[in-house]
């Protein structure tokens, strides 16, 4: 971590205030970038908008998962430990398991926890995460593809939808809790 950390103790270079609002700030920044250059948007702006939207959703989910596992004030170092245990690839696999839920052969032990499978809210969030993960990869590495503003806006809409959906769920709602714990533990549950 070290080099990017300007305030020790919180990791990822975040102050408490920053850590609490990073995902929201990233989403706002993504919208600003997508609207930059109103007439002829530069690929750099659109690509950074898409990539930033993807990071906004990643940090939204990481933050919510860490708060689900470690609640209460004064527990930031512990929550930080949870955040660091999460990684993009495992989260994507967890999301794909949920979005590709097969009612005839459901994934265990998730099926025991959610016998009816993921609900619409969870499917909305996991679909957006998987879409944005690939779009982020294209935006950052694939120079052969060209992003249109309509595409960037559509991807931002997915990110907005993830925020609205997660914030619209009650914290005690079991589907929300199972979803967040799946992001962290899915890889280990499959062992």
């Amino acid at each position: 971590m070290g080099v990017c950390s300007y305030k020790r103790g919180w990791g990822w270079g975040l102050t408490r205030a920053d850590g609490l609002s990073l995902h929201r700030d990233l989403l706002k920044q993504a919208h600003r970038l997508a609207r930059h250059e109103p007439r002829r948007p530069r690929q750099a702006s659109l690509r950074r908008a898409v990539s930033t939207a993807r990071y906004a959703v990643f940090h939204l989910m990481v933050d919510a998962a860490s708060r689900e596992i470690v609640s209460g004030q004064g527990q930031e170092p512990l929550r930080q430990g949870v955040r660091r245990a999460l990684n993009h690839s495992d989260m994507k696999k967890a999301c794909q398991t949920l979005v590709n839920w097969n009612r005839n052969n459901p994934s265990q032990p998730l099926a025991m926890m959610m016998p009816r499978g993921p609900n619409t809210a969870v499917v909305t969030m996991v679909s957006a995460f998987v879409d944005l993960q690939q779009a982020r990869h294209d935006a950052d590495y694939d120079l052969s593809c060209r992003f249109s503003r309509a595409d960037a806006f559509a991807l931002l809409r997915l990110a907005d939808g993830s925020f609205d959906t997660l914030h619209g769920m009650r914290k005690a709602e079991s589907s929300r809790r199972i979803f967040l714990l799946t992001l962290v533990f899915h890889g280990r549950w499959k062992r």
Binding site: S144, R146, S148, A150, D151, A154
Partner: protein, 94 residues
Amino acid sequence: MAQALEMGFLEELGKKLDQLERPDWVRSIDTVEQLDADDELAVWIWIVVDTAMPPQEQAQLELAALRKRIRELLIEQAPGLWAYVRIKEDGDGA
């Protein structure tokens, strides 16, 4: 390891996608099979739009509705297959 899709699958899917209700300014809906960032086989569904689209706010509502119809079709026709739904302007390479 990724496995190839059945012969003719994309063609059939393409025909069904073509039959979906869509705005006039959506020129076509194209499908491409390729590996994604995790080396998993996936399908890209490109909504090809006219450069003369309605204002973004209106266009995005209609695109979101079309995306929903595409997802519903995929769940019905190809459960378990992941498809990335993206938008490009007519004439853009992708």
